[in-house]
């Protein structure tokens, strides 16, 4: 091998970058997120059902919230017709947060796991329980 120490140094740097996820997580066990649906309002509901199905909300809630923002604030449309025909008032503060009043145990649980930082709270007031802990 010619210039052996330079080649080895280069290869070590390559390995340091390429295997970063492996050694930075070494020996760590990460609990998977477990969002809670046990707020008082939800517990009192007879039919525990969000505006759309659970699967839809899991994958599409960010898009739905974005569309709601555009509808309510930019076009002044305050009614949402769900895929099952139910009509809901479009309001993050009065609709979403009425049931999901546990930001820390509901929103943040997955968002911090997936490292997502939604800018909802730039404008909206976080529910009380979260506010006290901040």
């Amino acid at each position: 091998m010619y210039d052996a120490w330079k080649i080895l140094l280069g290869l070590i740097i390559f390995l340091a970058f390429a295997t970063f996820p492996f050694y930075s997580n070494m020996g760590k066990a990460v609990a998977k997120p477990d969002p809670k649906l046990d707020t008082p309002v939800i517990q009192q509901m007879k039919v525990k059902q969000c505006v759309e199905s659970k699967e839809f909300m899991r994958a599409e809630h960010m898009q739905l919230l974005n569309n709601w923002r555009d509808a309510a604030l930019r076009r002044g449309e305050r009614l949402y017709k769900g895929s099952d025909g139910r009509i809901t008032e479009i309001s993050f503060q009065n609709q979403c947060l009425r049931c999901h009043s546990n930001k820390k145990k509901f929103c943040d649980e997955c968002h911090s796991y997936a490292d997502v930082k939604p800018y909802c709270w730039d404008c909206h007031i976080a529910p009380k329980e979260a506010k006290n802990e901040h």
């Binding site: 091998m1 080649i7 492996f22 930075s24 997580n25 070494m26 990460v30 796991y113 490292d115 939604p118």
Partner: protein, 331 residues
């Protein structure tokens, strides 16, 4: 022809993942075994390839000189374009690797006035496409660390928020994702439409482009359009990184297509032109100092050559030469 072949290879790969996951339900194969195998091939392949290269000597001292060489103290020399020492070479390599300095010099020649005049002009499009592509690719790869680490390192957060700072839609539109796809499309169109470049393009030139196009497209589809359950995706990817692989149920097939194309790219990497990632550091025209007038560069494979000098030759054949009337130096 090459383009079509490569295109169909990528289509077949997509269909393989689709059939394997959706049809045959081979989740463990496509979610764990293939990614690990591809990554191992990538790491080992790159190391072996670089070690193989390092066993070849550089017979000639061949730095390209793009500026005034260091000579007399009162002649200004170009430290980066014609470096005389290690520091200069490091600077030159940094310019080359980070900013593609030599591609920035790219010229275009053209005949004017019915071939009476040959003119040269600056042509920066390839440089622009190349640098847009490579930097986007790097940022996209760093952004993906958020799926492979927990807690996510601070630099990933910073890059993520800068990349999405236009705040278009939710999830935020990532600028590099769009730039990556546009740049790689440009690099393909350039091969398809410039006749000289098309003439020298092989399937091996098109395949990485189509693979990366497929990866970027499937990623964009997954993030903005088809949507997958990102929490389950991170469970899978973090499981891979913590060597504790698991396959959560309910991840859309588009994720497995994305993962399979990436695995293919990783496994193909050490055997392809993509090895220019390591190769750029080993290009003798760039990484040698232009000091051939100060230091003697000896070809490393020189060895004592057995010679038969003229004196020895004459000693051996003197009598015969005399008989034949050939003049000799010693009587």
């Amino acid at each position: 022809m090459g383009a079509l072949l490569s295109f169909f290879v990528v289509i077949v790969l997509v269909l393989l993942a689709l059939a394997g996951v959706k049809g045959a339900g081979l989740y463990v194969l496509f979610g764990t075994i293939i990614p690990y195998a591809a990554f191992a091939t990538f790491i080992l392949g790159v190391i072996l390839r670089v070690i193989k290269w390092s066993r070849s000597p550089v017979p000639f001292h061949i730095p390209t000189t793009c500026g005034q060489e260091k000579s007399l103290p009162w002649i200004k020399y170009s430290k980066l374009e014609s470096p005389a020492g290690t520091m200069g070479v490091i600077g030159r390599m940094a310019l080359e690797v980070l900013l593609f300095r030599s591609l920035f010099r790219n010229l275009k020649s053209e005949q004017r006035d019915d071939g009476a005049k040959l003119v040269y002009g600056s042509n920066k499009w390839l440089w622009l496409g190349g640098i847009a592509f490579h930097w986007s690719m790097l940022i996209v790869i760093i952004r993906h660390l958020r799926f492979f680490t927990h807690p996510v390192p601070f630099f990933v957060n910073i890059i993520d928020s800068l990349d999405g700072f236009l705040q278009i839609g939710a999830p935020h539109l990532m600028i590099t994702g769009v730039v990556l796809l546009l740049a790689v499309t440009y690099l393909f169109l350039r091969r398809a439409f410039i006749p000289q470049v098309r003439y020298i393009s092989l399937p091996a030139d098109y395949l990485p482009l189509f693979l990366i196009m497929g990866i970027a497209t499937s990623g964009i589809l997954m993030r903005y359009f088809l949507k997958v359950d990102i929490i389950h995706v991170k469970e899978l990817t973090l499981g891979l990184a913590t060597l504790n692989p698991k396959i959560p149920a309910g991840i859309g097939v588009i994720f497995y297509i994305h993962l399979f194309l990436i695995s293919t790219l990783f496994a193909y990497f050490p055997f392809s032109k993509l090895m220019h990632m390591g190769g750029v550091f080993l290009s003798p025209t760039r990484n040698l100092a232009n000091n051939s007038r100060m230091k003697r560069h000896v070809n490393p494979w020189n060895y004592p050559v057995k010679v038969h000098t003229y004196e020895e030759y004459e000693d051996q054949f003197r009598e015969k030469m005399k008989d034949a009337g050939i003049p000799v130096e010693k009587e």
